[in-house]
Amino acid sequence: MTATESVFINCPFDADYQPLFRALIFAVQDCGFVARSALERDDGSEVRIEKIRRIIGESAFGVHDISRTEADAGSGLPRFNMPLELGIFLGAKYYGGGEQARKACVIFDRERYRYQAFCSDLAGHDIMPHAGDEREVIRGVRDSARSWIPDRTLPGSTAMFERYRRFVESLPELAAGLDALPDELTFSDLSFVTAHWLEMNQPPVAVPDPAAG
C-alpha cells in the first residue's frame, strides 16, 4: 500500500470544531483512507510549517475547511492558517510536477459563496457548504472520495452518518474504557479508536454500483 491512501485534513483544532473534526476523521477512514493532520505525533524537532509541508507532500488527497476565516474578536483580523495550507496544497498540485499534479481535494466553508469576500481567487473551485453540520462534512468527504477513487464501493453517506452517530454515542464509554474523557483523546488516539470501531462495525450492505458492471 502506498501514501496514495493519505488524506491531509486542514481544519480548525479548537473545542468548538471538535464534532466536525471527528466527523471528518470518521468519514476519511470509512472511505478507506488514512487521515493525516498537523496534529499527528512527531519527534518534536520538526518546525510546524515543515511538518505541514511534508504531510501535504505525502498526501494524494486533501480536505480543507476554510470556515473559520473570520475576524477575530480581539484583533479584528482573520486567522489565515487554513487558507495558507490550502494554498500550499494547491501549489504542490500545480507546481510540484509528477505525481503531485494528480492531487485532488475537497474545500468546505460554512456557505458556498462566502469565500468570495476574503479569497475570491478560489473561484473555479467547487466549495462545499457544511453549515456546521456533521452530516454535510460526511457527505462531502464521501462524495469527493467517490470521484477520487472511482473503482471502490463506498458506504452510502446516509449509512455512513448513521454509523458515525452510533460511534459518537459510544465515544464517552470508549474513552472511559481507556481512562480518558472524549476531549482528552489526541488526533492519534482518536484515529485509532475510530479505526478499530470501524473494524468491528462493517457497513451492513456493500451496495453494488451499476456503473461498475
Partner: protein
C-alpha cells in the same frame, strides 16, 4: 451475463500509534463497549497503513 461489482473499500490502520494507549487496549475497549450496548461485532478488513514517505500519486486500479 454476470454483473461485476467494485470491491468495497478496505480500512487502513492510522499512521504511527496512539499517544496514550496500546492498540490492544483500544481494541479491548471497543469490544467491551459494544458488548455493554448489546451490539454484535461485524468484523471488517483493515490493512496496515502505508509508509507515508512513498509516492502520493492516486492509484489507478485496473477494472476487475
Amino acid at each position: 451475463m454476470g454483473t461485476r461489482h467494485k470491491p468495497l473499500r478496505t480500512l487502513k490502520t492510522p499512521v504511527g500509534a496512539p499517544d496514550h494507549f496500546t492498540i490492544e487496549q483500544v481494541r479491548a475497549a471497543v469490544l467491551a463497549v459494544m458488548a455493554s450496548r448489546g451490539e454484535t461485532p461485524v468484523p471488517d478488513v483493515m490493512e496496515p497503513s502505508p509508509s507515508p514517505r512513498q509516492s502520493c500519486a492516486p492509484q489507478r486500479h485496473a477494472p476487475e
